[in-house]
Symmetry: C2
């Protein structure tokens, strides 16, 4: 394998995850202490990006990053936008960081986002943390904008593509599904109407199985069938909420 990198292009990954508290984003702490350990010059958060290997596709490069920070392999991802403004790094703080690392400031970034259930991830590295989307901390570089762009893209795609199921475990309840839509779109949905629509989708297939545990009454489980979805998606779109 050719381990050389394109030194002016990175792949940046926005990792979205869902738990019972709603939508989260995985961030990495960025700190810089030049002279005194007690006085941090920089202490904020960034998404994770890395240079693209010359011998790999962009998707492969993104997957390497994703695997490294979440431990999860093989998830769908969406390329949502590429950033190439030569002055995207221009704040004092960001330039200081770039200089301290000896890397070049004029990089392009190809943005990908991932979606998954939060509890699937065991954070392996220090300095990584989940933040509620509604309560993001101070972000470095143009990562605030990148995350918002990713989120806007997610909200659109969720209406016409089956990405919602990436946020859920393989077996899920209709209430899980409704909660996922509500969290991501930030809306309230009528439960009865939602069920009717969901049950009308052939690719949401019921199992003869119930989930016991947290709740009192056991709830029916469903799986998403990509096979079925692929055969019907032209005629019938996903839940319109």
């Amino acid at each position: 394998m050719d381990f050389r990198k394109r030194d002016n292009v990175t792949v940046d990954c926005v990792v979205f995850a869902l738990d019972t508290n709603g939508l989260h984003v995985l961030l990495r702490n960025r700190t810089l202490n030049m002279y005194d350990d007690d006085f941090l010059e920089i202490n904020d958060w960034v998404i994770t990006g890395y240079y693209v290997f010359k011998s790999k596709t962009l998707e492969e490069s993104a997957d390497l990053i994703f695997k490294e920070i979440t431990g999860v392999a093989h998830t769908d991802k969406i390329q949502f936008r590429t950033y190439g403004n030569p002055s995207r790094i221009e704040s004092e703080k960001d330039l200081l960081w770039v200089r301290s690392r000896g890397v070049q400031a004029q990089t392009m970034a190809i943005g990908y986002y991932y979606a998954l259930p939060l509890d699937v991830v065991n954070l392996k590295h220090d300095g990584f943390k989940w933040f509620k989307y509604q309560a993001l901390p101070e972000l470095g570089f143009d990562h605030q904008k990148i995350i918002v762009d990713a989120y806007e893209d997610l909200k659109k795609k969720i209406m016409t593509e089956p990405i919602i199921f990436n946020f859920l475990p393989v077996k899920f309840t209709l209430n899980d599904l409704q909660f996922a839509y509500e969290s991501i779109l930030d809306v309230k949905i009528d439960n009865r109407n939602f069920r009717k629509k969901s049950l009308g989708k052939p690719y949401i297939v019921p199992l003869n199985e119930k989930r016991k545990g947290v709740s009192k009454k056991p709830s029916k489980l469903y799986v998403f069938s990509k096979d079925v979805y692929d055969t019907v998606k032209e005629k019938d779109y996903i839940i319109s909420v």
Copy 2:
């Protein structure tokens, strides 16, 4: 200005245009004759791309290309996808071409597309030609895929964003608008229902002006108001066709 280029990244532009025959794509002839003028080693078509200048944004780089080939400045454009597969150039023909030019084969490409009325363009350079989208010629590199990706993106965005108006002159009739939708989505639309829906959109504003000429009965003219659109787009989406 810094005229240096990023030698491994290009911006590629798909130019869509509409006339009374439907949707067209602007292509450039690619020929190579190594020994004998009568025997062309390569004779196919490509979209136009060029290296990104280090001192320019991707949008500016795309606009330079677009201006160069169409003579038109200041049009909306959409960045739809970035291509970075290191083996995107692998056919004999494409490698021959790349070698003959002494450029490197491993380039990334950021894809943009433009939309405009066809009659606005005066092709200034030889070797450029409009092709009906439904009848594209043999294409070089992975440009077939790039054009199809752009078109798929266009079809989606046209339902939720006001790009359709870029295909029309500033003053247009409702029948023009309907024809644009029909051409791009490749569907038939009921004229009466279409008018009803269009008239319900506040951002399609009627003028006290009629178009005379080709037709017999003069037709009422409308303009698209971006100002109005921006204030209402959250609540009311564009025509659903």
